[in-house]
Amino acid sequence: MRASFVQLISALGHFFTSRIDRLGLAARFAGALLVSLSIALGRLPLMFREVYFSGVRSLSIVAVSGLFVGMVLAVQGYEVLQRYGSAESLGVIVALSLVRELGPVVTALLFAGRASSAVTAEIGLMRATEQLAAMDMMAVDPMSRVVAPRFLAAIFSMPFLAAIFSTTGVIGAWIIGVKLIGIDDGAFWSQMQANVDVRIDVLNGLLKSIVFGTAVGLISVFEGYFAAPTAEGIATATTRTVVISSLSVLLLDLLLTVMMFRGLS
């Protein structure tokens, strides 16, 4: 009885110490990554190669998702707005939700699932097949050659992807709202332009996506770099990347939203 009680307490303790341990490892890893960034920034072609695999290849899923999200927002928004006789405000509602929240957040979630998981698996497999160790032996720093370009690519791609998501979303809402439902075209755009502020809404949305890109990029390379060098280890690391990225994106979004948009009106 007493022994099991002690075990329970130590299990609880282990639960927290292991996580704090991991957090410390991640912080040290981020520090080392920051140092290697200066070298990686001098070799941008490496980053652009990763931008191709992470960003460009995510273009289609982001654009199509944006289109559908915008369409759904238009259908749902119209249902509620027409009850109050203000269907023309549809453009405002759709544009603000996309530019402020859904664009950066959903893009980051899609990116975590589509690109970051692949990065984790790739670096994890490099670790398992000792490619990273081989690079080290050849005096090639794997941090600046492998890790940093993938991290930078996530930061670089995310704002563009978020902008494309929001744009296709607005176009999707326009197709549903103006072309199919028949809201006045002029009112749709003019109300949107009158109520969406470039600095407060658009720039803050892009700033959000840069923060999300940093978080998702860091998590994906960290989980890959420290993946257990087994098939199971890589599978676990990939899962962890998607789960932790998604959760931290949502948490960061709450913090950023409170900081950016509280007390505006």
Binding site: R49, S166, V170, Q193
Partner: protein, 157 residues
């Protein structure tokens, strides 16, 4: 895939991304809102501003001619102090009347400027002499009820 193919794909990606950002800035948002630093500021005092908010439009004859810059309370007179930033290409006479109006029945509130006949124009920092406060629904209803109550006994006789 060789180097130039990557370059082409990434270049295309960046171009589409920049195009999307331009779309958001120009078509979704209004980049004209960017020049909020230009123009001149005039001051108006109201007994009650109702639901007026910072960045609400300032209109004259229905045309947006500026934005509400800031709202504060004068601690001595207990009047609302509203600073209006008017775009530099519009000028208004000294005896302009500012009133707080509502667009539509439930729409947003804005400041309406009605220019007078004074040949002297308002300059930066000037204060508007005549203002008309926001209509408060509760006050309107109570006024209506009082006037109803006042005329009912006359009818009863």
């Amino acid at each position: 895939m060789n180097r130039s193919r990557f370059d082409f794909a990434v270049g295309l990606f960046v171009a589409i991304g920049l195009l999307a950002m331009a779309f958001m800035a120009l078509k979704v948002g209004n980049l004209a809102g960017f020049d909020s630093g230009t123009g001149y500021v005039i001051e108006a005092r109201f007994d009650n501003i109702g639901g007026l908010k910072v960045r609400a439009p300032v209109k004259s004859a229905g045309v947006v001619v500026g934005r509400v810059e800031s709202i504060g309370l004068d601690a001595e007179t207990y009047e609302a102090r509203v600073l209006l930033r008017v775009y530099p290409n519009y000028r208004f006479s000294k005896d302009t009347i500012a009133s707080i109006l509502t667009s539509g029945l439930l729409g947003e509130q804005y400041v309406g400027l009605e220019s007078g006949g004074d040949p002297v124009y308002l300059a930066a920092g000037d204060r508007l002499g005549k203002t008309q406060s926001a209509m408060i629904l509760e006050k309107l209803i109570s006024q209506f009820l009082f006037s109803k109550a006042a005329e009912t006994p006359a009818k009863a006789q």
